[in-house]
């Protein structure tokens, strides 16, 4: 593919192309799909959110299937033609084609090279030609020009976007100010152009026994809770808060309801909502909070709904490190850098192999939330014989399913 052209050729092209390409992000941050093939790219350095219209025509895959790419760094480095350090800012999945979209920045000799890349299940990496796509932009800076100048040239505070979520015709934008430090949640109607609203959010943080207005939302998702669109937002250290979207009026100061303290010393990475069948085939809706330092927290929508209807936490946790609030199931998702809902049967993760440091793009079957090939256990030995009882047959069939998912059909045991 043309992305594999040698660096020297690209450098020559750069000289002839000039410095500026219109509508290109200066930084490549959070990604989110909107309606009609729209891909939102948060560009904190440019103080913008870009909305790109991707070419239509991509087809849905014939069936749900797992990603099993165990060295994405190499694939991406080859595509970018960069040998620098790679930092992955976000991962999302195209709602139709189920292709992974990743924002990535390569840093080499202090120079950043950023891109949004599309990665297919078979490992083909394409750099999106964002400059050639139809696009619109939303400006994050909200300090109006009032004819007032300052004692020196100072840039206005802008927003570094921590998360985006598109729901019901609006883009929800959470962030930290590049100047001030306030938890701001913006509602931006899409298509861009209508008035956006900006709301400051206060929460009660039971682990800190403080009302907090300054801590930024780190990850969020708008979830339909009992018919009410509600932002489910996770903060550092790790309060989980619900905020009905209707409360987010412009200029309002809103107190979110703290429904859980998930644990201290942790930054939440992603909040994902999805439905999945359990081992009995019953379909339930879930919200998953993926964490950097801790287990991921799986919450049923049923429990979340109950917690959102209750008064919320108002007492400090009994001891440092205690958790409280809505019931969660810890999931063994360590090393995950970003996670997204993939399709009916899988979640997709960028995951760092903790031994080799390799970045993987791998799917986790919903309901199991683990990858069999991560483990060497007794079952792996060729002379292991599954017993012929109901439980052993169940384990064998489940393991066979995961072996097929993860690219080891030859190891299926009859």
């Amino acid at each position: 593919m043309s992305a594999l052209k040698p660096l020297s050729v690209l450098a020559t092209l750069a000289l002839s192309a000039g410095a500026a390409v219109a509508d290109m992000p200066r930084s490549f941050g959070i990604l989110e799909f909107g309606p009609d093939n729209t891909l939102f790219v948060a560009d904190s350095a440019g103080g913008l959110i870009h909305a790109y219209t991707l070419p239509s025509g991509g087809e849905a895959p014939e069936q749900d299937a797992a990603f099993n790419l165990l060295d994405v760094d190499q694939l991406v480095a080859d595509a970018l033609g960069s040998s620098g350090r790679l930092v992955y800012s976000d991962l999302t999945v195209h709602p139709v084609t189920k292709v992974a979209y990743v924002s990535v920045t390569a840093t080499s000799d202090g120079v950043e090279t950023g891109a949004v890349v599309a990665i297919s299940r078979d490992g083909v990496v394409e750099i999106l030609d964002l400059g050639a796509l139809p696009s619109s932009q939303f400006t994050l800076e909200d300090t109006a020009d009032s004819g007032v100048t300052f004692w020196r040239d100072i840039p206005a505070p802008s927003l570094t976007v921590t998360d985006l979520d598109y729901a019901n015709g609006e883009l929800f934008v959470s962030g930290v100010s590049t100047g001030e430090f306030a938890s701001t949640l913006r509602r931006v109607p899409f298509p861009f152009g209508s008035e956006a609203s900006s709301t400051s959010i206060e929460i009660y943080h039971a682990a800190h026994n403080q009302n907090e207005t300054r801590a930024p939302i780190r990850a969020m998702e708008v979830v339909d809770i009992d018919g009410t669109p509600t932002a489910v937002a996770a903060y550092t250290c790790t309060p989980l808060v619900t905020i009905p979207v209707d409360a987010l009026a412009d200029g309002a100061h809103v107190t979110g309801k703290t429904i859980a303290e998930l644990g201290y010393g942790n930054t939440p990475l992603d909040v994902i909502s999805f439905s999945a069948a359990n081992f009995q085939g019953e379909v339930s809706n879930y919200v998953l909070v993926v964490n950097r330092e801790m287990d991921a927290d799986l919450i049923t929508l049923e429990n979340l709904t109950e917690a959102a209807a209750a008064p919320g936490l108002s007492e400090p946790v009994p001891y440092l490190g205690a958790t409280s609030g809505v019931q969660t199931v810890p999931l063994p998702l360590s090393g995950v850098v970003h996670m997204a809902d993939q399709d009916g049967q899988f979640l997709l993760a960028l995951r760092r192999d903790l031994d080799t440091g390799a970045m993987e793009l791998v799917s986790f079957r919903k309901g199991s939330f683990f990858r069999l090939s991560d483990f060497i256990s007794e079952y792996n030995f060729p002379d292991y014989a599954y017993a012929d009882d109901e439980m052993s047959n169940g384990i064998r069939m489940f393991q066979n399913l995961l072996k097929a998912d993860e690219g080891f059909p030859g190891q299926i045991r009859q």
Partner: protein, 267 residues
């Protein structure tokens, strides 16, 4: 195929710029805010203003907080996935880890505040910080200061002293704030409104250590009533806002404070 040469070229244009020859003279020093030489031990942030648009690696990696012996203090600033640069990459905001600023937190209990009242410190921006062309600043920038007692008092405009200008003049409206305030707040969160509530155009200047604020109108003052408008997001150096201290226990109500202070230029 989604790849076009122009885009790949744009992605790499910075790489070609990096090979440019750096000027032999120094690029200039950075400016550090707040500028005071006594700063509260619970201060929330430093701002670094660079003379040039800076490169990808210029941030936290090239900034150190040193104690009186010159030993770097680890973990003082909150690492964020994306550093808090202004869009033009001329200003970097450094947040002290709020877990170490607030009382009663794990990080606060185990690590303590990064600053201790009475101790001397130096914030140092390395001269090796590189601009977007890969050229180093040259000389380090330092700001020596002493940590003062924690500031837990919300800014209260009713305690500010306004010196009203003369009607018909371009003389500044001067306000003694009594204590240091966040310089960005002073730039963006205070405005002068005319009798009809419109923002008066003009220029803001800040006094020593950001303890005073003055405003020179573009047109002479009228002999009518004006108001200083204060937004509730105005902060002092410790993140206290009018009515609400940074460390606000639950159940405590915001204190009353005036968001308008009237004044009339006298003829």
């Amino acid at each position: 195929m989604m790849v076009r040469a122009s885009v790949v070229a744009a992605l790499l244009c910075a790489a070609t710029m990096a090979s440019a020859t750096c000027p032999s003279r120094e690029l200039g020093q950075a400016d550090i805010y707040p500028t005071g030489d006594v700063l509260p031990e619970n201060m929330l942030r430093f701002y670094i203003y660079y003379p040039r648009s800076m490169g990808a690696s210029a941030g936290l990696a090239h900034i150190r907080l040193l104690d009186a012996e010159g030993t770097p203090i680890d973990g003082a600033f909150l690492p964020t996935r994306e550093e808090l640069w202004s869009p033009d990459r001329l200003r970097l905001t450094l947040l002290f880890d709020p877990g170490r600023v607030k009382t009663g937190l794990k990080a606060s209990a185990s690590l303590g505040r990064a600053l201790i009242a009475g101790e001397a410190y130096t914030l140092e921006v390395s001269g090796k910080s590189e601009d977007s062309n890969g050229c180093p600043l040259g000389r380090p920038t330092t700001h020596a200061f002493t940590a003062g007692p924690a500031d837990v008092d919300p800014p209260n405009p009713s305690t500010w002293t306004l010196t009203a200008p003369a009607a018909g003049s371009l003389a500044p409206l001067s306000i003694n704030l009594g204590s240091a305030h966040d310089h960005l707040s002073l730039a963006f969160r205070l405005r002068v409104l005319d009798a009809s509530g419109e923002i008066v155009p003009g220029q803001i200047a800040l006094g020593e250590a950001e303890k005073s604020w003055s405003f020179m109108p573009s047109r002479p003052w009228a002999a009518s009533q004006y108001a200083l408008a204060i937004e509730d997001s105005l902060e002092d150096l410790a993140g206290n806002r009018p009515g609400t201290p940074f460390d606000r226990p639950p159940g405590s109500d915001p204190l009353p404070w005036p968001n308008r202070v009237s004044f009339s230029p006298e003829g």
